[in-house]
């Protein structure tokens, strides 16, 4: 364990040295919080480069970081990689068996002309000395991180049987500046926090970003007109629509239906926050709750048949489930003093939520297939906004450190945690985007 940790820190120092200078905005920090008995040992040999100028991305490094933060793999530190084969035929399997590696990835980069780079890689089973994958990609030199994430996804799926979610994007909100000089931004970045792009900016609060299932749009709440209103913005073209703007009360908490045709929202123009479903084509609103409590933070079950939401109808906030077509809500959270902001994994079994006990708010994951058993995946004290990766292998959440908000990615078992940090300002409300079409 200690060896692994020191090896990881060396790896991270190397990674930080590579990326900190040109990007400036990001730093990486992986923290191992528990045993990794189940993590599969894998070596990713530095990819060989045949001539040409040095490339901006160390592809093997990006793959190693993806594996390490997933909690499913532990990759051999770069400093312990004693041989550097770049083709399957050159692998001396005895070496990697001695180092107790189950799998090895080798690869090479070559100039494909016109600013394009050809990336070839192979995945081998060390014990069986068997080739498992051999693929190549041709991409612009500036998109090598994307290629690395796609390679990590393919290897992850080959070994675990579960689709990888490294080649995905995340959205979050930043607040830079103090008081009336604060600027809020809605940012979209790669799943590891790299390549941040601002998609909306405002002098007033932005909150609650939610990805459309096709990954083209983000719904969010903006106070730019004074009151809270809900917008839907196309992240490629930048065009946007105002979809909820009742003059009275809150227009908040948008959540897309799995088919992308409807938004569940919380509206209080009726007197107090209630859950509604807005049909985006017809703009027809259907009210789902009628109660004097605060009903908010709707989130759809993956089958689209029901909606989870937060309500304090029992006194303190708890999670309830209501049929999407209307009906009686059922309380589903019973552990902890209060629970809020449910996010549901793709299989509908795991439900992440913010659980508050005293002054400590942690991310708890309830497994409905295990009789509602709850496990904590974050330490608190003020953690919120859990968001599952599309394969539910990891979650993003927001934490507060000192006077600023930071984002963490944590493996679904809570054992491996990575902090994504922006150089300045307050970061909050992460939302993990859907799979991208392959």
């Amino acid at each position: 364990m200690r060896i692994l940790r020191s090896a990881l820190s060396i790896l991270l120092l190397a990674a930080a040295a590579l990326v900190a200078a040109p990007l400036g905005a990001q730093s990486l920090n992986i923290e191992i919080t528990g045993g990794l008995k189940t993590a599969t040992p894998i070596t990713v040999v530095p990819f060989a480069q045949a001539g040409g100028a040095p490339l901006p991305t160390d592809v093997a490094d990006v793959i190693r970081n993806d594996f390490n933060r997933s909690g499913k793999f532990r990759s051999l530190a770069k400093s312990e990689i004693v041989e550097t084969p770049s083709r399957g035929a050159d692998i001396k399997f005895a070496t990697w068996r001695l180092l107790k590696q189950d799998f090895i990835t080798v690869g090479r980069l070559s100039d494909a002309g016109g600013g394009m780079v050809k990336v070839e890689y192979e995945l081998w089973d060390v014990n069986k000395q068997q080739s498992l994958l051999a693929q190549s990609y041709t991409a612009p030199a500036g998109d090598l991180r994307g290629v690395a994430h796609q390679i990590a996804d393919a290897i992850y799926e080959k070994i675990t049987g579960v689709r990888g979610a490294f080649w995905t994007r995340i959205a979050y909100i930043t607040a830079v500046g103090l008081g009336n000089n604060t600027t809020y931004s809605l940012v979209v970045a790669d799943s590891d926090g790299y390549n941040p792009q601002v998609v909306a900016r405002s002098r007033e609060s932005l909150l609650s970003p939610a990805w459309s299932p096709d990954g083209h749009k983000i719904a969010y709440v903006s106070f730019e007109s004074g009151n809270s209103n809900i917008y839907v913005q196309d992240i490629t073209t930048g065009s946007r629509q105002l979809v909820e703007s009742h003059a009275r009360g809150i227009n908040g908490a948008p959540a897309w239906s799995p088919d992308g045709s409807r938004l569940a929202v919380s509206l209080s123009y009726v007197g107090n926050p209630e859950i509604f479903v807005l049909d985006l084509a017809s703009r027809h609103e259907t009210r789902l709750t009628t109660n004097l409590a605060i009903d908010t933070e709707p989130n759809w079950a993956p089958d689209g048949q029901s909606i989870y939401f937060t309500s304090d109808r029992s006194g303190r906030p708890q999670i309830y489930q209501v049929p999407a077509g209307g009906g009686s809500p059922t309380r589903i959270s019973f552990q902890g003093q209060n629970n809020a902001e449910a996010d549901v994994g793709y299989d509908g079994k795991q439900i992440a939520m913010v659980q508050g006990n005293g002054n400590v708010y942690r991310i708890a994951v309830m497994d409905r297939s295990l009789g509602g058993q709850v496990r904590y995946v974050s330490p608190g004290p003020i953690d919120e906004s859990p968001s599952f990766a599309p394969n539910a292998s990891m979650l993003l959440y927001a934490a507060v450190e000192g006077r600023r908000g930071v984002l963490y990615a944590v493996s679904a078992d809570g054992m491996v945690r990575q902090r994504l940090v922006l150089a300045d300002g307050d970061v909050r409300e992460p939302a993990w985007g859907p799979f991208r079409p392959r």
Binding site: S205, L207, A253, P317, Y361
Partner: protein, 169 residues
Amino acid sequence: MNKTARVALVALFCLGAAACSKKAVKPQETQPPAEPTTTAPETTSGKYTPADLDTDACLRQRVVYFDFDKDEIKPEFQQIMACHAKYLQDRPSAQIRLEGNTDERGTREYNLGLGERRGNAVSSALQASGGSASQLNVISYGKEKPVCREHNEDCWSKNRRVEIVYTAK
């Protein structure tokens, strides 16, 4: 009645009302000299004027604080409710925006709801004491606009608040 005439009348009523004397801010020369002062009706005496918002000890208090996850208005704020309600009654053209806020504990959207609940509680109290619903507008910022950013009860208690903002005096 146009605005000038209304200002003149208010100033006129104050001439005959002892309670107005300490609040009077109108320079002498703007007061019509020839009008009889004894005809001022009893009910208009002691009315607030916009200047009182800056000078009156009660009206200058514009923040109501709350207990954790609660929206009950505590007894110590009843006097503030009463003087702002009286102002609204005295000045039918006055408008107030009630800005509801919470501390950092709990999720953002839930806290938007809680901030609104607090704003509504203040709105109800002002209406119960004579303000009109049409003069009151509630907006919730939840935990988005803290006045204090430390993670302790002292700080949290400053953030659990409704701010009374006059948008028209």
